[in-house]
Amino acid sequence: MENIISDSVSLVSTDSTFYLKSVMDSITASKAAYLQAKTEITSNSTSINLNAFKLDNLWMMIASALVFIMHLGFATLESGLTRAKNTTNVLFKNTVIPAIGLLTFALCGFGLMYPGAEFTGAFFGFKGFGLNLPDGGETSAYSPSYTYWTDFLFQGMFAATCATIVSGAVAERIKLISFMLFSMFFVALVYPILGMWKWGGGWLNVIGFHDFAGSTIVHSIGGWGALAGVILLGPRLGKFEKGRTYPIPGHNMTSAVIGTFMLWLGWFGFNGGSVLSADAGLVSKVLVTTCIAASAGCIAATFTIFSISRNFDLSMTLNGILAGLVGITAGADVTGVLDSLIIGLVAGIIVVLSVITFDRLKLDDPVGALSVHLVCGIWGTLAVGLFGSKAGLQQVVIQLIGIVSIGLAAFVAAFAIFFIIKSTIGIRVSKDEEIYGLDGGEHGMEAYPDFMNK
């Protein structure tokens, strides 16, 4: 092609007729060259977009893996903060929950939570059962940053998280089968229907409710479910007796620390992935605010409990980290570094006071799930109205509407499910089983059969 042009140019000094042809040839060649260049440019564009799509999608897949590993975090944290005689049971629940969660989310949760644009502003929508790859579902036609599969996987991992939050609060006394039933309904129906209000484009989204990665949608919903369970179950034997409140120490701090670090690691994907793309600036900022809040929560909880009990209580330090993480989850995208520091510090203080308060209220929560997920989830959601780029009275009001409406709905729904289960098959193990441990009663095995127990 270049040859054509240069040929034509070299002939310019000859006569006009010939010249005419030469110019014409040049133009024709030019046109062809242009068309080819255009094709190449377009093909480049396509490749660029494909790269961008693959890149964003890669991050979302990795984020899904990170959120997945949070289930190991919950499993080890919750079992670490409960007694050895119930370890198998606690581990078991946290192991089957991601399985139940993914399967029910595939069955109907995904369709309930993301019913599609026609349900914008609604309270309820449904796209249908099962996973059905839409046309172009594996390309950017589905979404600029992830495939249909990635979308499901990421959201499915979130859904399972919500049910896991409940498991810690009701541990050491709930009947296994009752808990599994509850989880199934909670993750199949309650979480996705309420989640749709915000993330599925529902009414809360339309009024401007901001909940970046789920301080309310994931953590508070889980927390409200936990509260319903705690109320209906009653406390563990030996927790509140003769007018006093007795501590029931967790059996394995190593486990609890592994759990907390796994959760913090998972939060890189939980918050980082909630950007829904690999946007360099936003994702990295979110990771920084997330880590700063976690650190602040850690330090604040450590010194708050120290000032109360004169002890550096590791279990509270761990709760502080999670409190900071839950607190920043709603606003990790709209708050600055200093905001996240304050949000984390406040969360770390709140979580300690909250644990003590729930004990005073005789609500027995073995692992502090209510304080971490429910109370700090509320705090974090509110904080969006107080700090960062969305701060303002109006936003506070909107955030409160979200907190209250979701809270009410989640609590009532969870209470109803638990209540029906309680009235039919029961929710609490026998007194004997509780004393000797759920591991024997529900699983016929011990978690640590080779060690002597105290």
């Binding site: 004393i435 000797y436 024997g440 699983h443 016929g444 095995m445 011990e446 059969p449 002597m452 127990n453 105290k454």
Partner: protein, 114 residues
């Protein structure tokens, strides 16, 4: 060198761990200041299945039940009361409540007296 003068009895009570705190408090009320306890397994020969692992029944450890042993050494004169108190506070009425064995102690020494 303090061999205590009064005749002493050792009371060994095998009780349910769940009754431990009741027994402890009851003993405290009648003036027992110290005792030791440790964990044992009681063997029974009812081989009812108590668990399973990977599809295989766990019979053996099922045949043993965890119990707590209290050992307290008291002067002969107090033994009756202590025994009664333990019996009452460890009682549930169901089989498995445990046993109390009494034996003689010929000398007792308190190490801290040198």
């Amino acid at each position: 060198m303090a061999t205590l003068e009064p005749k002493m009895k050792k009371i060994q009570a095998i009780i349910r761990a769940s009754k431990f705190e009741d027994v402890r408090d009851a003993l405290h009320k009648i003036g027992v200041e110290f005792f030791i306890f440790y964990e044992v397994k009681g063997v029974t020969f009812q081989t009812e299945q108590k668990g399973s692992y990977r599809g295989l029944s766990i019979y053996d450890s099922a045949g043993s039940i965890p119990r707590r042993v209290l050992e307290v050494v008291v002067p002969e004169s107090d033994a009756k009361e202590a025994i009664n108190v333990i019996k009452k506070s460890a009682y549930t009425g169901e089989t498995g409540d445990g046993k109390i064995f009494v034996s003689s102690i010929e000398e007792t020494h308190r190490i801290s007296l040198g």
